[in-house]
Amino acid sequence: MRRTKRGVSPVIVVPALVGLAFLVLPLVALVVRAPWGSIVQIVMKHEVLTSLLLSLGTASLATAICLVLGVPLAVLLARSAHWHVVPRRLLRALITVPLVLPPVVGGVALLLLLGRRGIIGQWLYAWFQITIPFTPAAVILAQVFVAMPFLVLAVEGALRTSDRRFELAAATLGASRWHVFRRVTLPLVGPGVSAGALLCFTRSLGEFGATITFAGSFPGTTQTLPVTTYLELQRDPDAAIALSLLLLAVAVVVLVGLRDRWLPGVTGS
């Protein structure tokens, strides 16, 4: 009698709203404290535009690499459901580790592998005179390292909830395995792939720790927008707030684009 409609209990609503407030209020503070009067000048500064362009460019390339490598990895992970429990869990753990690792640690690990004295890097340097740190390639590698798990897990989620009998139906029509994958499996998980790619892109855009550790920071080459923001914080906090807003705006635009209908199986809608 007290509740005629099927509502959500206050036991759920109250902590949920507190949780939401905790996520949103810091961003509100950022917006409130923003130097709105000078924001355009700050954002239009040459060095800011340079790092914004570098960020957009590297994040796009990183997303492309994540798609090429991450989608097959997602397929492997989804099919590992039939494996023995140990290798199956190990594979999932290995893919998830970069998500929980402090990005700085990821940066150090990349240096130890691909740096000038790294396990692989020393040979690249000795044989081809190639050094990866301090180049835009290093920025992209750092972004791929931290962002790929987002793509893999999103695509894998979509694959696991998609009906595999469509693949069987396609095979009975004479489609080869590759044709089935390209024309049936991929389109069916298309929403998961788009969602994963968007998450991957925004994560790459916000990448800081691994980038500054592995790629360093040099204007126009490796200094991405988050790095510029951090450096501005030391000199001019107002500018740092303005740049944070710029990053926030880009992220919001991308994530709002990630509508529910693109995410069946991920949002559960």
């Binding site: 740096g115 000038r116 301090f134 500054i212 790629a215 920071s217 501005e232 030391q234 000199r235």
Partner: protein, 254 residues
Amino acid sequence: MVAAAVVVAALALAGCSAQSAPSPTATAAPVTLTVYAAASLTDSFADIAKEFEKQYPSVKITYNFGGSSALAAQLVAASPGDVFAAASATTMKTVTDASLVTGAPQIFVTNSLELVVPKGNPANVTGLGDLANPDLSIALCAAAVPCGAAALRLLAQEGVTAAPDTLEQDVKAVLAKVELGEVDAALVYRTDVTAAGDKVEGIDVPGADRVVNRYPIAVLKSAPNQTTARAFVDFVLGTTGQAILTKAGFGAPN
């Protein structure tokens, strides 16, 4: 034995000051002193705390180490503390401008830059001029942070146009790149070279002593126990504190 002599001397000094102010040792209740200190002071201030607590057994020192700008921002945002030891006059000014300091800040050490190369000096770097070589991999601090500003002044003073490959967000990041051998040479503080031990090699730069960072220290108004806070500042400025800081590679205040 030297350390023992230093302690004896410091005790004597403390004995003198006890005449002008009531000694904190006299109060039985334990006092905790929160000191905000620049990250470059981490090792030497830990040693200073040990000696200070020996002399004032009722006092417990806790440190908040971090980048000076970040610490200043925390203090301005009303974080409670007793003493602030900054790595630059600018960051101290942020705090004094907010009227958070008792009396005038005092310079307690200086720090100057030194050329640093990986162990074995693989690129055969000899002096500041090598920083202009585009074939070498060079790291400097970003201009926005104190060590970067100092590097720019030194390079300008010596007429060297550096060709850096990366401008790092703090001096420890620069040092890490040298230790890992990712760069051939970098400019860091003398204290950082000392702290890194034999993982890196330092090369003195003529003229570096004319580009110095002065570290100011001050008692904060928010300190509940002004006397004890003052005693800590005096201890840093005193013989024991200075001996520890000199050993870490810092220069004398003047």
